[in-house]
């Protein structure tokens, strides 16, 4: 499944929660683990925070976020037209910060690098910064028992379309392993 969204928002800290929620919603169809969701939310929050408080500092500007999915590879590109980074290597060093040391941990890039599978930073002083991060969202069957079986069982025509037919064994299996969500879907079919 390939997908892409682009969005732009003002460099206000209240937009951080919005940005990470959008990223989480964007990868939700891949059925990521709780940990993967948290990793993506955190990494996006770090990049957006950097754009707002380090890129634009006291100025206002627009932050753009480009999210893409290629198969199970999620990529987030967060870009600002702020002051840029003079020494990227130094900026990425853990605990380094240009902000107030009592307020900032200097951990932003370290968190992005640790929570995502790839991190790339491009910047030009006076022009802005673009942070690109990617993460491969795992397939669930690697983690849960019976996942491989679930994968191979396609929903039968009856479950998907026909109310009168009984769900096939495959769908019944899916209901067990997927819990509430699949259960709700069956409920709809039965009541409909």
């Amino acid at each position: 499944m390939d997908n892409m969204i682009r969005l732009e928002f003002m460099s206000l800290t209240q937009n951080e929660a919005f940005a990470r929620s959008v990223a989480a919603a964007f990868i939700a169809p891949l059925d990521p683990t709780v940990e993967e969701l948290a990793d993506v939310r955190t990494a996006v929050s770090e990049a957006v925070t950097n754009a707002i408080i380090h890129g634009y500092r006291r100025r206002r500007g627009m932050v753009s976020m480009l999210l893409t999915l290629k198969g199970r590879l999620f990529t987030a590109r967060i870009e600002d037209k702020g002051c840029g980074i003079e020494d990227i290597e130094l900026a990425m060093r853990p605990f380094y910060t240009t902000g107030n040391r009592d307020e900032r941990s200097g951990m932003g890039f370290a968190v992005m690098a640790a929570f995502m599978d790839g991190l790339h930073v491009e910047s030009k002083v006076g022009e802005g910064t673009a942070v690109t991060m990617e993460k491969l969202i795992s397939r669930r069957e690697e983690e849960c028992e019976g996942g491989a079986e679930r994968e191979s069982l396609e929903p039968c025509e009856g479950c998907a379309e026909c109310e009168s037919r009984e769900p096939c064994e495959g769908c019944a299996e899916r209901e067990k392993s997927e819990g509430l969500e699949a259960g709700a879907a069956f409920g709809k079919i039965e009541n409909g």
Binding site: I52, R104, M107
Partner: protein, 109 residues
């Protein structure tokens, strides 16, 4: 984000609820510092993160800043009840090396 305080003897517990990011960091910082200023006899600061569903490095900055304040007055800082995703961040940042941590993560059961 919501903040509640509990003072017991020389210990101040800060109970946080919600999501901690840069947006609420300043408010959080000044609220805690205000309490510490009022209660100068407090020698132990406890962050109870049980109800914190999300935290990024802005939260680490707040904790580290308060850790320094407590250290300067000869006190200690502890973090308790962090959820699994928050605990991952705390471990990565090395905050657990500076603060005392107690209480199992809820997600770890």
């Amino acid at each position: 984000m919501e903040i509640a305080f509990e003072v017991k003897g020389r210990s101040l517990t800060v109970k946080l609820r919600g999501e901690i990011d840069q947006h609420c960091a300043r408010e959080l910082r000044s609220a805690i510092d205000g309490r510490l200023h009022e209660n100068r006899e407090v020698k132990r600061l406890v962050f109870d993160l049980e109800r914190v569903s999300f935290m990024d490095s802005s939260g680490i900055g707040v904790i580290l800043g308060r850790y320094r304040l407590m250290r300067d007055r000869g006190g200690e800082t502890a973090i308790v009840n962090a959820q699994k995703n928050v605990e991952k961040l705390l471990r990565l940042s090395g905050v657990y090396g500076l603060t005392e941590s107690a209480g199992r993560s809820r997600a770890n059961g």
